[in-house]
């Protein structure tokens, strides 16, 4: 079984996000970038499938600027066998990403595509579902447990009311949630080894995809600031404030 793992380079989850003064977006200059945390979980799952003998190849793919290679190197250091970089500068929307991934799937013919349920930059939560729709494959979203064998995969999904179990025919697209696994840190020897692994380069044109955005971002602004920070000295004072000042209890 072959697993394809799309990964996205995003602002590191610990970085304090600042909106640009001209309100055109978020300031990404000189900001630490990392692999989208949900995609790390996806890479980990693919590598574990390999280690368990359920998968024989894990291929990472990323769409983005030159620096996305660093993200792919991370995936390779975690245990992916090889990588594909679709080089693109500038914004990419989930639909265009899904179309390019569908092109890569066409060339690679994986049995499973495993990716994060959302990226922590645009918080769109669309790419996996769109890819699955374009391919006409089955989809398992927000999965916290995966059991793949014999042409089928059973997943446990985290839904608003609790958990759901769904059986999917393969090939399938899975989008992963936080509790599927805990991603490993790449060891130094594996980081060194990853430098020698292959990263193939492609362009959106190679995949025949028009990446023109469908959404115009008119402006990006700071959210309203909360005026917090008042401290109370006791539980009695807290209850008094909530009852008499705020009137919420």
């Amino acid at each position: 079984m072959k697993v394809l793992v799309p990964v996205k380079r995003v602002i590191d989850y610990n970085v304090k996000v600042r909106v640009k003064a001209d309100r055109t977006g978020v300031d990404l200059a000189n900001v630490k970038m990392s692999m989208n945390p949900f995609d790390e979980i996806a890479v980990e799952e693919a590598v574990r499938m390999k280690e368990a003998g359920a998968a024989d190849e894990a291929v990472a793919v990323s769409l983005g600027p030159q620096q996305s290679q660093e993200t792919l190197r991370t995936a390779l250091a975690m245990g992916a066998d090889r990588a594909i970089h679709v080089v693109h500068d500038g914004e990419l929307e989930p639909l265009a990403v899904a179309k390019m991934l569908a092109g890569v799937v066409g060339e690679e013919a994986p049995d499973l595509v495993i990716l994060g349920k959302q990226a922590i930059d645009d918080d769109a939560n669309q790419t996996g579902q769109m890819l699955s729709g374009l391919l006409g494959w089955s989809q398992g979203t927000f999965v916290s447990k995966v059991d793949a064998s014999d042409g089928a995969v059973r997943v446990v999904r985290e839904v608003d009311g609790g958990l759901e179990t769904v059986a999917l025919r393969m090939p399938a697209v899975l989008t992963v949630d936080l509790r599927l696994n805990e991603p490993r840190y790449a060891s130094l020897p594996n980081i060194m080894k990853a430098r020698k692994k292959e990263i193939a380069r492609k362009t959106p044109a190679d995949l025949g995809v028009d990446t023109t955005p469908r959404l115009n971002t008119l402006r990006v602004e700071e959210p309203p600031k909360r005026q917090g920070g008042l401290k109370v000295g006791s539980v009695a004072e807290l209850v008094d404030k909530l009852h008499n000042d705020a009137g919420v209890i």
Partner: protein, 317 residues
């Protein structure tokens, strides 16, 4: 042109999230037609027809739609798109699962999780865990939009008199099979719609200790939530999680107990009307956004809180 709203339900009851989606749809400027896709879902269709702001209810009643699997529902939605200016759903796990698949089938770039309708083609949505708000204009012929439920009032459940018609037929794509659900349903209010929410974090130290929060919740008529740390540690089930990737809540009162206040958690609760917190670390970021912060050991403060609420005769509203 009319707007199609995808209804969320369990084949028996219409989910309140749909009511928020109907309000958002009405703000986009057209009559709302509600699609009820399910199996044996007649009662849901009747309930939807009574919702104020709904013009027509379209019912797709088919065994293949019973579990609302995206593989079966998305083609149904895509097939109904012509004739609608917008297709709208709540940004719940159901809406998030189904809508992007339908959007891809229609070659449309969805707009996710909107909090404001600026004009029929322009919407505000949070990005970067709510640390920035983007105003985006869709250029697609049909707008596909999911709606953050806490940002829109619920449409009234009575007062409408929509017609009920059959939707086009559905088919089983044969790709996936629903095998079962383990829903952690309890007697408390729903997290997303509760007037008061009390949440615990890593500081709770165990699942058993959440009983303290439940006792306070019982007095206040509150829902109980949790931070990611508490869910990851196995204290409470996943559906308790409030945050960027869990549930987004905006109650009248949010009480954070033993929660430090990572930005990912704040993203899920900072629109609450009043925020109170109890934490023994006075440097915790949660204090910066809390209206009322108490620096205290929660194992003393929470039982005290329960006693004080009882003494004051505070009751659930």
């Amino acid at each position: 042109m009319a707007i199609l709203v995808y209804a969320e339900h369990d084949n028996g009851e219409l989910s309140p999230a749909t009511l928020n989606a109907v309000t958002a749809a009405n703000l986009m400027g057209g009559d709302a037609d509600v699609l009820v896709a399910g199996s044996g879902c007649g009662a849901v269709a009747e309930a939807a027809a009574r919702v104020r702001g709904v013009a027509k209810v379209l019912v797709a009643d088919d065994p293949a739609l019973g579990a609302q699997l995206a593989e079966n529902v998305a083609p149904l939605i895509a097939g109904m798109a012509s004739g609608y200016s917008h297709i709208v759903a709540a940004a719940t796990t159901t809406g998030k699962n189904v809508m992007p698949r339908a959007a891809a089938l229609l070659d449309i770039q969805q707009v996710s999780d909107i909090v404001e309708v600026v004009s029929p083609d322009t919407f505000v949505r949070p990005i970067y865990a709510g640390n920035a708000m983007a105003t985006v204009q869709s250029t697609d012929a049909v707008k596909i939009v999911t709606v953050r439920t806490t940002a829109f009032e619920a449409a009234e459940t009575e007062g409408g008199s929509a017609t009920v018609e059959a939707a086009p037929g559905a088919a089983d794509a044969g790709l996936s099979t629903f095998e079962g659900a383990a829903l952690s349903g309890n007697e408390r209010p729903e997290l997303i719609t509760a007037r008061v929410v009390i949440s615990g974090g890593r500081g709770m130290q165990s699942g058993e200790n959440f009983a303290m929060l439940e006792e306070v919740a019982d007095i206040l008529g509150a829902a109980v939530g949790a931070s990611r740390a508490a869910v990851d540690s196995g204290y409470v089930p996943n559906d308790y999680q409030v945050g960027q990737t869990g549930k987004v809540v905006a109650p009248e009162l949010y009480i954070a107990v033993g929660i430090s206040g990572a930005i990912q958690h704040l993203a899920g609760m900072k629109d609450s009307k009043v925020i109170a917190c109890i934490n023994k670390d006075e440097e915790a970021p949660i204090f910066h956004i809390a209206d009322f912060g108490l620096v205290a050991d929660l194992f003393q403060a929470v039982p005290e809180l329960k006693a004080e609420l009882r003494n004051q005769g505070v009751q659930a509203r």
